[in-house]
Amino acid sequence: MSEWWTYRPEDFLLFSPRVYWRMFELQNEALWSLHLVTVAAGLAIFMFLLRRPNRDSGWIGLLLAALWVFVGWTFLWNRYVAINWAIFYVAPLFAFQAVVLLIAAIMPGGLRLDRRDVAGWTGLLFAAAGLVLYPLFPPLVGRPWTSAEVFGIAPDPTVIVTLGLLLAARGKLLPLLFPIPSLWCLLSGVTLWTMDDRQAWLPLVMVAIVLAALGLRSLIRRSAS
């Protein structure tokens, strides 16, 4: 692209905020009552992690893998791609993330959600916010309830809960599991920011926390060795 410096992020925004939030309304309408199941599944994850932190958590990986495929297919591939051609290249990454989550869930030592350092607790806190607070945003920012983003139904809360849980996890495949959700948060944050949406800071803060946590851990590791 020539004269690239003359372009602003909003030059790449192909749709209006109205059309963007209508996608969530239509997604919610089409899938309604499944929300109860996905949120219940999310709450079950937290109950399990708080009460039995050391037990095998492979099923959580399986559940997340299923939700990544589901959100990637129903939202990105069947809705979002229609208004944003760039999603054509992003949706397959959701499938890739699901495959890695699946492998991590079934391979021994692939994913254990028992890390409780500062980063791990922060991750759990953000994951809880993604699950519980996210759907409550619409009235705070002046949108109808029907456009609520719900874990397992909409991408942002699904990705944020996943990232939070990954911060509280150990496992051989962990380095492979961070990049896609982090890139999604970046993409979503920039999109919301170009739309002048007050929610933009959330996914962006999540990326910052992931980067800070991973940086801090590698520092600690290096100074210990």
Binding site: S2, E3, T6, L13, L14, F15, S16, R18, V19, R22, M23, L26, R79, A82, I83, N84, W85
Partner: protein, 306 residues
């Protein structure tokens, strides 16, 4: 300011000078919008078209698709003809196709598309996809979007024109980008159309490109007449000058459009909108009287000083 009669007379003179080949009087007609000739063919076209960037990218949302079809319906009803789109505009092309179906395929449509691909082969395949989205036999105009791979595409497009697969060939830019190259291509290729940004605050095109278009007989499509809505929003809080009534404008949008259309080198302005009241207001700006050169300067100065 004493405008009324002088403006009318001078506007008529300006319009006549505007295009030597302008056969129909453009001024003072209340029953039809201002028509401008496409210099390369002499074909007359209404001076207001319809853009579709962002506004028509509504995906598969049935309610919003219907709203777009309503906008198109009012546009055709008011006498508009040119609809402009691009493969870059998300779902705008299928949404146009949906609207055309719902409106019973209006015969007056002037379909303006773009090719936006890195190679000529990709461009040809893309054009075919675009055509099926619109559901038209052929496009009236195909433009090389933002000069991407322009040499390869122009060669293909001129061949297609010669074969009768499209009627006109053009190139586009916006927001003042690559005007040097744009000028070079205008000088060296037999273009029918160019598309560029021009409005009451973005007047760079007046220096080289518009005079060159007039000299070379190239029709000019104006994009971003409202700076994607930023200009109308910015002016919204301000009072229109009393003398705006003299050119029959009651809103800032019409004030801006009248300014654009009264430049002699301009053929069509293509504001985009999601609203039927706005499309009605925009097409109405192509009716009635237009400012003369002195009043145009007064209009620009008024906006500058706000």
């Amino acid at each position: 300011m004493t405008i009324s009669r002088r403006t009318l007379v001078q506007a008529a003179a300006a319009a006549a000078a505007a295009a030597a080949i302008l056969p129909a009087p453009a001024i003072g007609q209340a029953t039809a919008p201002m028509m401008r000739p496409i210099p390369s063919s002499g074909e007359q076209i209404p001076a207001i078209g319809l853009g579709t960037w962002i506004t028509f990218n509504v995906g598969d949302d049935p309610a919003l698709r219907d709203e777009c079809a309503d906008v198109m319906g009012v546009f055709f009803e008011a006498g508009g003809r040119m609809i402009d789109s691009s493969p870059m505009y998300g779902s705008s092309q299928p949404v146009i196709g949906y609207g055309l179906d719902r409106l019973g395929r209006p015969e007056t449509l002037f379909a303006a598309e773009k090719v936006w691909a890195s190679s000529s082969a990709d461009g040809a395949a893309q054009l075919e996809r675009s055509r099926s989205f619109w559901g038209v036999q052929r496009f009236d105009l195909v433009q090389v979007h933002n000069l991407v791979a322009w040499e390869a595409h122009l060669q293909t497009l001129f061949e297609m024109k010669a074969a009768g697969q499209i009627r006109y060939v053009g190139i586009t830019t916006s927001e003042g980008r690559r005007h040097d190259l744009f000028e070079k291509i205008m000088g060296s290729h037999p273009l029918d159309f160019v598309q560029l940004t021009y409005n009451i605050v973005d007047r760079e095109a007046e220096e080289q490109l518009l005079p060159l278009a007039a000299e070379r007989g190239i029709a000019v499509i104006v994009n971003r007449p409202f700076r994607q809505g930023a200009l109308t929003r910015q002016l919204d809080g301000h009072q229109l000058p009393e003398w705006a009534k003299e050119i029959g404008t009651t809103t800032w949008a019409q004030f801006i459009l009248k300014f654009i259309l009264s430049h002699p080198a301009i053929t069509v302005a293509i504001p985009a909108t999601t609203r039927v009241n706005h499309v009605r207001e925009n097409v109405a700006a192509a009716y009635g009287v237009f400012p003369d050169a002195a009043m145009r300067e007064q209009m620009a100065a008024y906006v500058r000083d706000l």
